[in-house]
């Protein structure tokens, strides 16, 4: 009923679960306003990131998680740069 890799967006995964920590409570599924997650077919397992391209990176899933099992990361193109202030003018 949904296409696991049909979105053209499965080349990145904004939401990553630590399977050891996740208890499959689905609080993250319940809070996500975009509904990018689906509960796992198997009880106690982490949800499926079914619609990764639709994530708008609000972090509500991480905030709702009681076991710190979720990592939310911006796609590679949005990884920003910072440098040591003391290096300015010398390393560039």
């Amino acid at each position: 009923m949904y296409r696991e890799s049909g979105y053209g967006a499965d080349f990145f995964v904004p939401i990553q679960y630590d399977e050891k920590k996740c208890i499959g409570c689905n609080l993250c599924v319940d809070i996500c306003q975009v509904d990018v997650l689906l509960p796992s077919e198997r009880k106690g397992e982490n949800p499926i990131v079914a619609f990764p391209g639709e994530c708008w990176y609000c972090g509500s899933c991480v905030m709702a998680c009681k076991t710190d099992a979720i990592r939310l990361v911006h796609p590679l193109m949005n990884q920003v740069r910072w440098v040591e202030k003391d290096s300015l003018g010398s390393s560039l």
Binding site: R3, Q33, V34, L72, K85
Partner: protein
């Protein structure tokens, strides 16, 4: 392609009916406050929300500052002074009524939210002694430290508090339902709004809501000109599913719209082009008044509106000599002299400064640094986790590191002139002093209103629209019971309900009945087609011929969609119905652009084929759909009359009650 079982029960053929006094459409800040405002009047209230109220809407996951709290005890500006500047800043093309409500009642709502459990002051004395903190009230202010009308807030606590409050007071919250249409008396365009339809985003169950009055509290439109199918969630500043369905269903029902011809060159978070909002170096909003350095470590100085260089960081947070107050942190695009705030000087093309630039918090006093990188970045909607938590974990230290800037001001990207966006103060529903639309029974709040913006505006107009809708129900229906009113109760048209049920389910029923998935259009393809059409035919410079051709192109896409669009499950159906709404809004924008025959700079609207001799006085151009076609009329920019007098005339009961409530 691998198929998976849909985890939720499918209810495509099923229908559920609800009935209430006041129906709230959308459960963001505005919708929640509207529901509470109506419920305070003792009425039966239903709120319908596409996500989950505890974290949904543009401000669902947080917010770091509350603007225009002119009535807070520390404020040195009046609501009248603030609105006067907002109106002048936009040459009158702004919503005087809604922004007056924001300035007048915003702080009342903040106190409401505090009572619900939201955090609005530094109760732990974390920032004791800071220049931006009032030691008595423990309120903390941003930008203009002298006039104190923008309040720093712990916005991640707000929506969860509102969700609990809705439950506590007995509002019936219906979640995971997309509202798809307004129901009008006898199904007529322009008729009284008597309810709405919706579809469950997980089960596909169809819903009919019957109501005596409704409050439209949905988002502004989005993804009209810009769309990235791979990273849909990065296509706009608003959440993925907030694309302006309220505008679309309002237009179809005959609601009047104002300023829909306005659009700006894309600024922020569009089509994945921007770096993360508030996650890249800048010195605006959340990051004000950060220092900016060039690649050699040379400071880019701040200057006040008169060009006076400000050397002490404290001067960045004070008005200029002779200036009463300034509006925002980090200047305003095209802003007026009276309220222009301190801003770093422009270094574009200046050989004395080497790119890229960096934001530097290390030279600020400790509490200033901590309030930006800590509280503000921690409380803003999309920054607590992917920015504050992740950058900190990756080693970013604001005392040691500087963060790269990727564009001028807060933009962190550059766009082409035809890449447009409804950003800032865009068009929306026209309103009167009740925040009522032109349709009987339909009230409007927050982002759905024309010239809307920000959290405080959403909360203030939400509560206002909710209580005025409730007053209407009480007065009209009670008078009707006594036979003293000519008021029409209105009837739901079963034909309208059936037609809508068929329309919304068609894309999934096609596949259920064996239609080949390879022959159909999915929502991403359709959104791409709309965006490309709008960029080409309705970009920066508009002409009658191109607008007409664009309209015909959109109508062709619409006809194709009706026949060939498909969706695999209720989730994708929701996304498809949203894109159909984006198409409706695109047509609305073209109609508004056709009606406006001459360029209007404050609307960023340029007609390439204007006849100079036809130029008239500047007025609003309000358009609506009728049973026969399109109706466009001019409305004076100051149609709302004297703001203070009218506000007080229309809100006597509130002023009396509120005065007592917050003592």
């Amino acid at each position: 392609m691998k198929k998976n079982e849909w985890p939720y029960e499918l209810k495509y053929g099923e229908k559920k009916e609800y009935s209430c006094d006041v129906l709230i459409l959308g459960g963001g800040i505005a919708g929640c406050m509207a529901a509470l405002g109506a419920r305070e009047k003792g009425l039966n209230v239903i709120l319908v929300e596409k996500g989950a109220v505890a974290a949904s809407g543009a401000g669902g996951s947080g917010c770091d500052h509350w603007e225009s709290a002119a009535t807070n005890p520390c404020s040195k500006v009046t609501p009248e002074e603030l609105v006067d500047m907002m109106l002048r800043d936009n040459k009158g093309f702004n919503n005087g009524i809604s922004h007056y409500i924001e300035c007048r009642e915003g702080y009342d709502r903040l106190l409401d939210i505090e009572k619900m459990g939201g955090k609005i002051r530094d109760t732990e004395d974390e920032f004791k002694g800071a220049d931006f903190r009032d030691e008595d009230s423990k309120l903390m202010f941003a930008y203009d430290y002298k006039n104190k009308f923008t309040i720093r807030i712990w916005g991640t606590t707000f929506k969860t508090a509102m969700a609990k409050e809705l439950k506590r007071v007995g509002v019936n919250v219906v979640e995971r339902v997309m509202v798809t249409s307004l129901l009008t008396d006898q199904g007529k365009v322009g008729g009284k709004v008597v309810g709405a339809t919706g579809i469950h985003t997980r089960t596909g169950e169809f819903m009919v809501f019957k109501a005596k009055a409704s409050v439209m509290a949905m988002s502004r439109p989005a993804r009209i000109w810009l769309f990235n199918p791979a990273m849909v969630g990065l296509s706009e500043f608003r959440p993925t599913q907030c694309i302006g369905s309220g505008h679309a269903m309002g237009w179809r029902a005959g609601a009047a719209f104002n300023m829909m011809e306005k659009s700006v060159r894309a600024e922020f978070s569009a089509a994945g082009k921007s770096y993360p909002p508030y996650g890249a170096g800048n010195n605006h909003n959340t990051w004000y008044p950060a220092s900016i350095l060039d690649a050699n470590g040379k400071t880019v100085p701040y200057a006040d509106r008169d060009g006076r260089i400000l050397t002490d960081y404290k001067d960045r947070c004070l008005p200029a000599n002779g200036q009463k107050f300034f509006m925002k942190g980090g200047g305003i695009d095209g802003g007026i002299y009276e309220i222009e705030g301190p801003e770093t000087i422009s270094v574009e093309g200046n050989p004395e400064y080497k790119l890229p630039l960096y934001a530097d918090l290390s030279d600020l006093p400790e509490l200033e640094r901590k309030v930006i990188w800590g509280m503000m970045v921690g409380e803003e909607g999309k920054t607590k986790v992917p920015i504050l938590k992740n950058y900190t974990k990756a080693g970013f230290d604001p005392e040691k590191h500087v963060l790269q800037c990727y564009g001028s001001g807060w933009k962190s990207a550059t766009f082409l002139s035809d890449e447009r966006q409804l950003f800032g103060l865009p068009g929306g529903f026209m309103n009167d002093w009740h925040l009522k639309s032109n349709l009987e029974g339909l009230y409007v709040a927050g982002d759905a209103l024309f010239a809307s913006d920000c959290y405080g505006h959403a909360a203030a107009t939400g509560h206002y629209a909710g209580r005025h809708a409730a007053d209407y129900v009480k007065e009209a229906y009670e008078e009707n019971e006594n036979g003293t009113s000519e008021f029409t109760r209105g009837e739901i048209s079963q034909a309208q309900v059936e037609a809508e049920w068929t329309r919304v389910l068609k894309p999934v029923m096609k596949l259920e009945s064996g239609y080949s998935a390879n022959q159909g259009y999915r929502w991403q393809e359709v959104n791409m087609a709309i965006s490309k059409t709008m960029q080409h035919y309705c970009g920066e410079v508009r002409t009658e011929d191109m607008l007409n051709t664009g309209l015909a192109q959109l109508e062709r896409i619409e006809a194709e969609l009706s026949e060939r669009s498909i969706a695999d499950n209720p989730h994708e159906l929701t996304r498809l119905l949203e894109v159909m709404d984006i198409l409706t809004v695109s047509k609305l924008i073209i109609q508004a652009s056709k009606a406006r025959k001459y360029s209007v700079a404050p609307l960023c609207f340029t007609r390439g084929d204007e006849a100079k001799e036809q130029r008239k006085d500047q007025t609003f151009l309000v358009i609506k759909k009728t049973e026969d076609g399109i109706d466009a009329r001019e409305v004076a920019l100051d149609y709302y009359g004297d703001l203070k007098t009218n506000y007080e005339e229309f809100n006597k009961e509130y002023i009396e009650a509120e005065g007592a409530r917050h003592v």
